[in-house]
């Protein structure tokens, strides 16, 4: 097969990226440096600094002497690998096969793509211009082999070169380092006076291999296309989406259910292969008139149980309005999680089967009434009653502190209600209070239990709590403000004991 490769070289990858991040750096000479043999050595140089005579490999102290205004950044802070990978993913719009060429380039297999842009030159110009727009200085070349494209992109004279048949002659003019050789071998070649590839390309292969190892021959062959070279393309992240086009528009519930089952089974096959489970999933239907309808489900634990997921969806199917019918169904799962064969423990008791069943039940309930309506309570290390517990929506969260030991009312009023308390006739210690229009006579009382509010959270008067029981055995949790207004204490009803 006739193949074409493009090599892109980012001349100042990291410095361009930094300028992109902080446009103020555009007019400032700066370098990135990293320590080498106990001194800071320049790694990359910004274009402004380059003009002033700073070059990679210089010692930072020397550069500062040349250019006092030079800014130095740590090279570790930028991660060129990640950056290249991201740019590589961006390049998917030009070709599906993109490989990262560390430390500063990309290799694109563009076979069969350029005609969509009307030829190689407009294609490549477009690509390079787009990268320039992002602020990257790049040089690129297209050739029949990876080696040739790489060599020309680095050592070619033009910003953009397209190599046709004249590969051999172009290569002859380039220095040996264009062949991606190791420094040791390059040094040996230079020692022997081979300054251009043309100087040794015609020498007998036997002699070359004896002197320079097979490496040189292999690189030569790769550049000339005598030997094939593999590139490792970046894998695009594949979305968990399944499609089901329909011949006839579907407008019945039964039809939608069949489509949903088919899509779920298709997705299930992939999820099982990858050991994943669905956390949230959207079922979309494209109507004949172009309208898009969708229903979404979410699960508490990752799940790939088709029957369970179908049940969750089926609660919502009546919401779809087919009208004239759906012609395309889509099942999309934006959130998937690892689902290992060994099930996670919900709580330490009970079999794993029952855990699954409970979480499936909760999924079902959440599908109908919403996730926020399902909650658990966890204890909090606060004595103040309103703060003694907190709400959690997760099923896995375990309490960090233990539940309080003290006796607490089973019902707590959302806000303490003020009651008017009348002390009994002198001589007996009974109290009377009126709540909801009925007079209650307190017979027994326990307390007080003083609870102070944490002053660093909110300023409130401490409360003296009493457990009180009236004649009929009804039990209340009352309090009055301690310290504050002791002559005429205000009483509040805060809860009911069982």
């Amino acid at each position: 097969m006739y193949r074409r490769f493009a090599a892109i070289w980012f001349c100042n990858l990291t410095t361009d990226w930094m300028i992109r991040r902080r446009p103020a750096l555009y007019h400032v000479p700066f370098v990135t440096a990293q320590p080498a043999q106990s001194r800071m050595v320049v790694k990359e140089v910004s274009p402004v600094a380059q003009d002033k005579g700073i070059a990679p490999g210089m010692v930072v102290a020397d550069c500062r002497a040349i250019l006092p205004g030079l800014q130095v950044f740590d090279h570790q802070d930028v991660c060129p690998e990640k950056l290249l990978h991201a740019i590589g993913e961006w390049c998917f719009r030009y070709t599906p096969v993109v490989a990262v060429d560390y430390p500063d380039g990309l290799i694109l297999d563009i076979s069969g793509c350029p005609h969509l842009w009307g030829g190689e030159r407009p294609y490549f110009t477009n690509l390079i211009t787009e990268l320039n727009k992002y602020g990257y200085h790049v040089k690129g070349a297209i050739a029949d082999t990876v080696g040739a494209a790489w060599a020309v992109s680095r050592y070619g004279r033009q910003r953009l070169t397209i190599v046709g048949d004249q590969e051999h002659s172009i290569l002859c003019d380039l220095p040996p380092s264009a062949l991606r050789l190791e420094p040791l071998m390059l040094e040996r070649l230079t020692k022997l006076g081979f300054y251009r590839i043309g100087d040794f390309i015609h020498l007998p292969r036997k002699a070359l291999s004896r002197r320079f190892d097979d490496q040189l021959l292999k690189r030569l062959d790769q550049a000339l296309g005598h030997e094939s070279e593999m590139i490792q393309p970046i894998r695009p992240i594949q979305a968990y989406v399944e499609y089901l086009p329909c011949l006839e528009p579907i407008c019945t519930v039964a039809g939608i259910e069949v489509a949903l089952t088919q899509l779920l089974e298709k997705l299930h096959v992939r999820l099982r292969k990858e050991g994943k489970g669905i956390r949230s999933c959207t079922f979309k239907g494209q109507r004949v008139d172009g309208d898009m309808q969708q229903i979404t489900i979410a699960t508490i634990h990752a799940s790939r149980n088709v029957a369970h997921l179908f049940k969750l969806f089926s609660l919502q199917i009546p919401r779809l309005k087919p009208d004239l019918g759906f012609e395309l169904f889509m099942l999309e799962s934006p959130l998937v999680e690892e689902l290992l064969p060994d099930k996670k423990v919900l709580w330490e008791v009970g079999g794993s089967d029952s855990e699954n069943e409970v979480s499936e039940l909760l999924d079902k309930i959440a599908g109908k009434i919403g996730r926020k309506a399902i909650r658990r309570y966890l204890p909090q290390a606060h004595y103040w009653p309103e703060r003694s517990f907190r709400v959690t929506f997760s099923l896995k969260e375990q309490p960090e502190v233990s539940w309080p030991e003290q006796l607490r009312p089973i019902h707590l009023l959302p806000r303490p209600e003020r009651i008017s308390v009348t002390p009994g006739v002198s001589g007996d210690s009974f109290l009377f209070f009126v709540y909801k229009g009925r007079m209650r006579k307190i017979q027994k009382m326990d307390g007080p239990e003083r609870i102070e509010c944490e002053w660093w959270i909110k300023k409130e008067w401490p409360r003296d709590y009493y457990r009180a029981e009236d004649e009929e055995g009804e039990r209340y949790w009352l309090f009055r403000h301690a310290i504050h207004n002791m002559d005429k204490p205000e009483w509040f009803l805060h809860g009911f004991f069982s």
Binding site: W347, L362, R375, S388, F389, W403, E472, F496
Partner: protein, 243 residues
């Protein structure tokens, strides 16, 4: 003559075994050899058919004011504590919030093991029914105002399939209509009795009325929640039984 005697005896035996089967199917009785849950209320358990607290059934609780609501919820929490026995899961469904979780520890329940669901008024029954169908749960507590006979029948059928204990707490119902539940409970708070000569409150004490038990003997009992279990107060002066 002897032959006729024999026949009536055989008939009686057949009749008895059929009745037992029916009770098992209705969840009022456990099949032989099935572990019984001991809720610690011997007197009340005796009143049920099969002399045991029916776990495969719907229990209906009725309360009319905030105090008896609190008492009822306390009693339910006590039952739950015995049923869950520190394991398993429980669903608490109610349209409004109101339970104060730190109180549950007193009844032997870690409140973080109860899943609280607060659906809107419309979905309460649906949620309760779904919960009752899931046999991984130990019990479902539902707080609802009105329950029609048909709705209760649905719940009872769900329970007969799954074996989950259902407790429906009806707060301020308009009418106490008959429903298809194994028992109707009414819990009223009673004045507690502290230690002799000591001031202050004693253990929580309730009057437990069972005006309706299917195939059982209704009655009234006095019950206390001691340190960590129920205690019946069997002082002869107070113990009464409806006839």
């Amino acid at each position: 003559m002897i032959c006729a005697m024999d026949q009536t005896l055989v008939k009686k035996n057949v009749f008895r075994s059929l009745q037992k089967e029916l009770l098992i199917m209705q969840g009022l009785q456990k099949p032989d050899g099935y572990p019984q849950v001991n809720i610690g209320l011997q007197g009340i358990e005796q009143a049920f058919p099969g002399k045991a607290f029916p776990t495969r059934g719907i229990h209906e609780f009725i309360s009319h004011n905030p105090e008896s609501k609190a008492a009822t919820n306390g009693f339910i929490a006590g039952l739950l504590g015995r049923l869950m026995n520190r394991q398993g899961y429980c669903l608490w469904v109610s349209a409004e919030e109101g339970l104060f979780p730190p109180a549950l520890g007193h009844f032997g329940i870690a409140a973080d093991k109860i899943i609280f669901v607060t659906p809107g008024q419309r979905d309460v029954l649906w949620t309760i029914e779904e919960g009752l169908k899931c046999n991984a749960l130990t019990a479902v507590v539902g707080q609802i105002k009105e329950l029609s006979f048909i709705e209760s029948r649905r719940l009872q059928l769900a329970v007969e399939q799954s074996g989950v204990t259902g407790m429906i707490h009806r707060y301020c119902p308009q009418r106490e209509t008959p429903v298809a539940c194994v028992a109707r409970w009414k819990i009223k708070p009673l004045a507690s009795k502290g230690k002799a000569g000591m001031p202050g409150l004693g253990y929580f004490r309730w009057e437990v009325q069972l005006p309706r038990i299917r195939n059982g003997r209704p009655g009234i009992w006095q019950v206390e929640w001691g340190e960590d279990n129920f205690q019946e107060i069997l002082s002869p002066g107070i113990f009464t039984e409806l006839t």
